[in-house]
Amino acid sequence: MKPVLRFKGVLSMMLFTIVLFSASVYSGLNPTRVDFFDNANNPISFIVFNYNEAGALTGRTMYMADSTFKREVDLVTNPTTGARVAETSRDFNGDTSFVTKYESDGLSFSIRDQFQLDHVGGVVNVAATDPLNYSLTYQVGGFASRMKYEYDASGNLKRVDVFNEQGVMEYFGVFSSVGVNKTVSARIGGAPQAVITSRGSAAIDVRFNLSEPGIVKCELLTLSGRVAGVLMNENVPKGHFLRSIKTGRNIKASSGVYLFVVSVNGRVVSSSRFLADVAVKGGVQ
């Protein structure tokens, strides 16, 4: 074969690979959760992924297989590069339980608890043997884990297998993905708790995806059901939505615990408790 043709052949093969690779990697939907099992298919735990309105991952929530809450994990990313820098895990009370710190390669990591105690054995180096296979070793030496990811035919993340040093698959995770996140979630002041003490300029961030335009109403109700304040009531277009609601002016109520209720077209889609604290400046007046 003529060299030029051979070169063109190589380029074509590369292009094909790139397209194939890109198609299999980048056309997928954001997974909503991953369920972990041992190799006897016993369900162990699952993670629910949390995304912002732009579809970027902001954190995750970990549960045991029976839906017992374990921890809320918030991501800390480099504002310039977007690379993962650290993750902070918080318990049911909002207190830090673990911190995972990433090395400069964005993959290798260490895990310490709130007392800075190492819980794995120092830094774990992560190396990709190919885009779907990863080898984890301890920086001090020794095997940590090996993982293999898999996409489905639609380009969605499908599965991750976790192997021991002998190459036996010990655990696996199965991903779930949906097209539009129809769950309306109310995050209050950035903290995971449904009830918090408002600090400073009290605000409630409301974010969700709408599959079609609708009337979105956010109200504060007393625990007995009386409307204490209407924070928002307007037509919202389809798609991602984020509104940061200042609580101070809009609420004519005393300090106490209220229900923050979000409804779409008259149907309640989410409610959580909100603590209004008049003692703190910027809180409910």
Partner: protein, 658 residues
């Protein structure tokens, strides 16, 4: 030109291949990089790590009915090892979704009922396992409680009883429907249970007292006699004053008597020595089942040797002549097994008891060390550390050390009382796992439970601090003029909340560990003892509270939390500020104490739900201590109408969730 293109083609190919091989998938890295998978599984102790290897920690041994298989509950490894006793080899492992706390096997040997729960995931479940395949046919989770354990099958196989340790109740399961048909309240931390041969009575050992420590006339744990036909509690029987840590229960082969291993804490004596059982004796309580009465308490100790931390107890009768049955007891602290000939034992107990036991009298066997003669009892030293579990197969007894990581063995001993100690055939050693190296933390945990660190093996640290928490008694330990009773403390977060002791007289946990070894174990503390224990203490984590609802605060607790942080309502956070809920200061908080006027170092509140009674004397229940006027403004605010009764209940609910 040809060569240039050829070289260029190859170069591009090579570069691309290298690039493709080395580049991690960007999408995976953004969403779920390997670190996330590793963290999820490692922090749940599914994957072993350098810091937290998956040790075996055998906690139960259950033989198949035909005696050919031993099912070994490897608690921390979350699996059951199926071991062939005949061919002496591991057949396979059965994986469970959580730590294995107990196993019961049906009479036909076909089904295992396995209780699973852990400190990380305490929601209990009972797995119904096919013994032949290891497949879990069903998981019972509904109405199975916090830290379930001790599954007991009735002899007819129709009911299974499961103790929910930190829910303080018992689940009654129908084996026909494989569902819980009733939940029955127990006293406190039911840990072990046994059923009579006729199946009519279940005996449950509640491991901790549920009294004020200052109720010194009767403070003790209790044994529950339960009617399995009516499914109701018949009676709760108190053990000897100072009894705690019931970790094993058995019923005699004739069904007449129940036996409970436990410790007797001599809390009313100043802790000036440990020998002679001065601080703790290690005992078996004898209960008359038909009369539902406490008969007597027998010390398992010798005059010059303690048999620390009796744990599991079982009978061996098959394969022995009539009236030649044995009672076998593991001593987890002393790392030994007592083999006791039952007939002379019970005859002696009944003879000495006479017309009725009286505490401290000549017929009280609890504090005397001469009843178990050499002819009646043999002690077998066990090589592996932490001898808790035992199983009887014919005329043999098996045990595997909870901390036996380096050896990975199960020991098989012939049941006999020939010779008191030593001079008997070597045990048969069965290899049940590969050797594993101990981390510092693991070594520290072993040290905590090891009475080899105590003069004459009378007790271990776990004697006053069972499972590293309090024994619900108060003790006079300080060798000072102001020595006065102080409530036993939890070891949780002791490292991170200096100073230690109620009055804060020790600067930190390290000094308390060293002092404890020196004073309460009566030996000179060495670094190989103290340093690993320091590490063990550092890493200790709380068990999630049974008051949490699926791991989250309940509605009442949420209201309570709001109040807790509302300084206009209550002043809790002035001293008990999160996240450890303490401030390393001392205060006079109004706890009535006739002996010691010292101000008290603020205790942390984590795991309040399990560390009662409260106050430095152990003289209060939780709500009471909330309302001491010198302790907080709660009582005044209640009187002034700033707080309601519901508010106080909500606050208690929140504190109980910590």
């Amino acid at each position: 030109m040809r060569n240039v293109c050829s070289i260029l083609s190859k170069t591009v190919l090579v570069v691309f291949a290298v690039y493709a091989a080395g580049v991690a998938d960007d999408f995976i890295n953004k969403i779920i990089p390997p670190a996330v998978v590793f963290e999820t599984l490692a922090l749940n102790h599914d994957i072993g790590t350098i810091k937290k290897p998956k040790y075996r920690s055998p906690t139960a041994l259950v033989p198949s009915p035909d005696g050919t298989i031993m099912y070994i509950a490897e608690q921390a490894a979350k699996r059951i090892c199926v071991y062939d006793l005949v061919n002496k080899k591991i057949l396979r492992y059965m994986l469970l979704p959580n730590e294995v706390t107990g196993i019961a096997i049906t009479a036909d040997g076909k089904t295992l009922f396995v209780t699973c729960a852990s400190d990380l995931w305490p929601a209990g479940m009972v797995c119904v396992v096919n013994a032949a395949t290891g497949a879990i046919d069903k998981k019972i989770t509904e109405k199975i409680g916090h830290t379930c354990r001790a599954p007991v099958l009735t002899p007819d196989g129709t009911k299974l009883y499961v103790s929910n340790m930190f829910d303080n109740n018992l689940s009654v399961i129908s084996t026909a429907s494989l569902s819980v048909i009733k939940v029955v309240e127990m006293i406190r931390e039911p840990y072990a249970a046994a059923v009579t041969p006729d199946g009519k009575r279940l005996i449950v050992g509640n491991s901790l007292p549920n009294d004020r420590s200052t109720d010194s006339e009767w403070v003790s744990c209790q044994i529950t006699i339960y009617d399995t036909e009516k499914d109701e509690v018949l009676k709760n029987i108190r053990l000897t004053r100072g009894s705690h840590s019931v970790f094993g229960v058995a019923v005699s082969p004739d069904g007449k008597y129940a036996f409970a291993t436990h410790l007797i804490g001599k809390f009313n004596l100043e802790g000036s020595r440990v020998t002679g059982g001065w601080l703790h004796t290690n005992n078996i309580a004898v209960i008359d089942i038909d009369k539902m009465e406490f008969v007597n308490d027998v010390s398992l100790d010798f005059v010059e040797q303690g048999m620390a931390n009796p744990w599991e107890i079982q009978f061996a009768s098959k394969g022995f002549a009539p009236d030649s049955a044995y009672m076998l007891v593991t001593h987890a602290g002393a790392n030994a097994i007592s083999m006791i000939r039952y007939k002379p034992f019970i005859d002696t107990v009944l003879k000495v008891t006479g017309t009725g036991w009286v505490l401290g009298s000549a017929n009280d066997m609890g504090q005397k060390f001469n009843f178990l003669t050499d002819a009646m009892r043999k002690v077998v030293d066990i090589k592996s550390k932490g001898t808790r579990a035992l199983a009887v197969v014919g005329t043999k007894v098996f045990t595997a050390g909870f901390f036996d990581d380096e050896n990975g063995i199960m020991e098989e001993h012939a049941i006999t009382t020939i010779n008191r100690r030593g001079g008997f055939p070597d045990p048969v050693m069965h290899t049940i796992g590969a050797p594993m190296k101990k981390t510092g933390e693991r070594q520290g945990e072993q040290n905590f439970y090891d009475a080899d660190l105590c003069l004459q093996e009378w007790q271990s640290c776990a004697s006053c601090h069972p499972l590293t928490r309090p024994d619900a008694l108060n003790w006079i330990l300080a060798k000072t003029a102001l020595a006065s009773p102080k409530n036993a403390k939890s070891m949780l977060y002791a490292w991170w909340t200096p100073k230690t002791t109620w009055t804060g007289r020790r600067p930190n946990a390290a000094s308390s560990i060293a002092a404890g070894i020196e004073i309460e174990l009566a030996i000179a503390p060495q670094e190989n003892m103290t340093v690993p224990m320091d590490t063990f203490f550092m890493y200790m984590k709380p068990v999630p509270s049974p008051f949490l609802k699926k791991g989250r605060l309940s509605e009442s607790a949420l209201r309570g939390r709001a109040l807790y942080y509302d300084k206009t309502k209550v002043d809790c956070i002035e001293c008990h500020a999160g996240p450890l809920f303490y401030d390393d200061k001392t205060y006079k908080v109004g706890v009535v104490d006739a002996f010691d006027p010292s101000p008290i170092n603020t205790p942390g509140l984590t795991e309040c739900w399990r560390t009662g009674p409260y106050g430095h004397l152990g003289s209060y229940y939780l709500k009471e201590i909330f309302l001491i006027e010198a302790h907080s403004n709660m009582k005044q605010n209640l009187a002034d109408g700033k707080l309601t009764i519901q508010d106080v209940d909500d606050l208690i609910e929140y504190v109980n969730c910590l």
